[in-house]
Symmetry: C2
Subunit: 207 residues, 2 copies
Amino acid sequence: MKLYGYWRSSSAWRVRLGLGLKGLDYDYVAVHLKNGEQLGDEHGARNPLHQVPVLELDDGTRLTQSLAILEWLEETHPEPALLPAAPLARARCRALAEIVNSGIQPVQNLSVLLAVQALGGDRMAWGRQAIQRGLEAMETHVSGLDTPFLCGEAPTLADILLVPQLYNARRFACDLSTVPTLTAVEARCEALPVFQAAHPSAQPDAF
Amino acid sequence: MKLYGYWRSSSAWRVRLGLGLKGLDYDYVAVHLKNGEQLGDEHGARNPLHQVPVLELDDGTRLTQSLAILEWLEETHPEPALLPAAPLARARCRALAEIVNSGIQPVQNLSVLLAVQALGGDRMAWGRQAIQRGLEAMETHVSGLDTPFLCGEAPTLADILLVPQLYNARRFACDLSTVPTLTAVEARCEALPVFQAAHPSAQPDAF
């Protein structure tokens, strides 16, 4: 498999984590977002939305959208599981993931920040507010957590979404003292080799 | 089951469609978003993010986030299926849904539009651009479609996400002549009684 990504793309990072947790090997192909490489025809042929990640299978099939890729990984490589077994627990896990996936990240991604800046807005303040509000809502959902990870004894989809979002939170200078459960879970994730290998700073295109 | 929603909320609309396609009965409880009813403590207790939809089960368990609710419906009430059977087809269906779920809707929701307006931006132009760009990417993904619905012979998650987004596209005066495949699928959906019953204009809180 080939993963088209970018070291700091939180969506590509999610897929690196999914592949890593499943123990799957892949080739990493960097698409340089800051240089606009994703906007060219070459990457447009891989994904009409001109985004990373794209996961290319050995037969050339291309999968897009990080959540769709992670659900596919879960269905085709069930062990170790990225979702709990019981339907209600799965719904809760997916809801936590969605707080980041649809509630936070899209509002603070680069194209939105550039549009905010074009309106004369402060992109740092904009991103900070979106992330702070979303993470604090997520903290409310998980306060009193009695497991090491968000949905049990091992990392799941919810942790995969959380860790890159907390990295972005620091880039935007969010106040993380209000989300102690989330940062405690993050510390447990970051102690794991799979999370270390998927970290942006460990990618070949990091600068 | 009890669905807390709002007639024009596209996320609540998605869950109405899911419940309808599964043939499930529910009580509809309107949360008046324009009056700010979602911001109060009563709704905050249901969802710390102060958003609709919330699906309350008969035992009081509350599910949030439309995609998590739809996946739960699919797992607990498998027939009729809202996703294709084969993993790759499921990944493609979820990717189409994600173009709307994380790619379009979050950038044009009310809280973002209010923030854009506070910066002196034109909220209509902002929303229109986000929707137009996302729908045209979705059209590229499905051009040459040879089935009546986006992922086969019956509506799936992708169609459930598409229909409310096209309604929003019209509110923002998007040019839909560039997305003929999507509007043709929409017309087939709207011919179905389930889609008619879930439409905003058919909800008790419509005005």
